[in-house]
Amino acid sequence: MFELKTILLLFYFLSLEVTALFTMLFYLIYLRVIFSIKTKIQIKRENQVSKKIASHLQGSKLPAHEGLFSDSQLLLLVLESFNHRLKGEEWEKLKYKLVSQYLLKVARKRVSSFSWRRRNFAARVFALLPLQKDERSILSLLNDSVFLVKSTASLAAVRLSSEEGIHQILKYMASAYGYSRCFYRDILLQGSLQTFTLIQNIASHTKDPSIHLACLDVFSGQTTPISLPFLLKDLQSKDPQILLAALKILSRTLLKNAKAIFLSFLKDPREEIRVEAAAGLKAFVDTSSLKALEKSLADPSWKVRLQVARSLKEMGKKGEAILRRQNIKKNQTTYEIAKYALDFLV
């Protein structure tokens, strides 16, 4: 009797386990099938929307209401993808029409939504088509607590060249470290001439050294098309970070007396300053620069020696000749770094 009861109990639990296992299995298969069907439908719809947009680009008339564009999320996705690949008047015109007809109203409603995904949608729409009348909304999204919202809104602010927005981004940049600092810097670097002028203005007037440094960081990221009146003052700064950033900018802008400045900083006691000075000198292929760089091949810091050798290599035949004439018997240190540069640096 006892044995039968145990067997029945065992059978009962076994059947329960098998049922649970099969239920889970069916659920997983169901999810997999549903997901695959959903993905297929999504790709199909994306293709349809893309084709429609492509045909409108060739001048086919935009109807008062296009059913295909009613899914705002999908339309935004496709428009963003087109925006990465196309530019020019015909694309800008079509983008303006589509965004203002199908997306802007939704985005404006979603600015103050409870869900961050909806606020992110709004920021993406404004980044796609930043209009002056949406500046307040963009600034409000820029102050959002969610990174994915404020980072997208910062793109919109830069594209709009909003002074308040750019100031806010510089503040974020000043308080950020590592990658997130670069993230904001890269967004600012995408700006127009107007954006750079605004940053120059902020750098000239700010009393916050961290914001000034953030501005310098931006200008050191690419050749700046505008003059920077504060640069000479920054080159005399006692703050090594400001001085370093100013030297980086000088390498790109090359002021009249840039060579003399680099030559003097090549003797600076701080190694990172000497590295930057050596990097800047590569633009001046003349006797005094080559002589100074050759002397610095024996610098006590390997970082400086490496940069000096790199600069000499990049200076072409004259620089390479200096590297070649280093003699192992005279000075092993200069010989080794010269050989490394000649053999391994591209």
């Binding site: 893309s50 492509a54 045909s55 680009l57 196309l86 015909e90």
Partner: protein, 131 residues
Amino acid sequence: MASSKKDTVLIVEDDEDILQILTLAFKSKGFNTKGFANGKEALSYLMKKENTDSACLLVLDRLLPDMDGLEILKKLQEKFPNKLPVLILSALSAEKDVLEGLKKGAVAYEVKPFSISVLMQKALVLMNRRV
């Protein structure tokens, strides 16, 4: 307008949308088009003399799923040197990439994101030079 003999624009582009946009743009100017989504197909088509004879321009993407567009260009130049004007359309925008493309035999290089009008204008100039 295109001439009657050489009126086919060959487009090698793996991005379906761009391929469609370019196809429509060239068709609207009266050209025939032939599109390829990968390098292998394009290469086997281009290696036949009758195919290059009927073509007036090759629009070539660089980052193809199976090869670098420059490989196609290199093989085309080896077999039919300077026969077909080649316009590279690529997202690779660094100076060395552009130079590499031009050195391998492309006549023009357009960087993505691109303007359709500018690309079409460049293409028409290249074709008029030859046709």
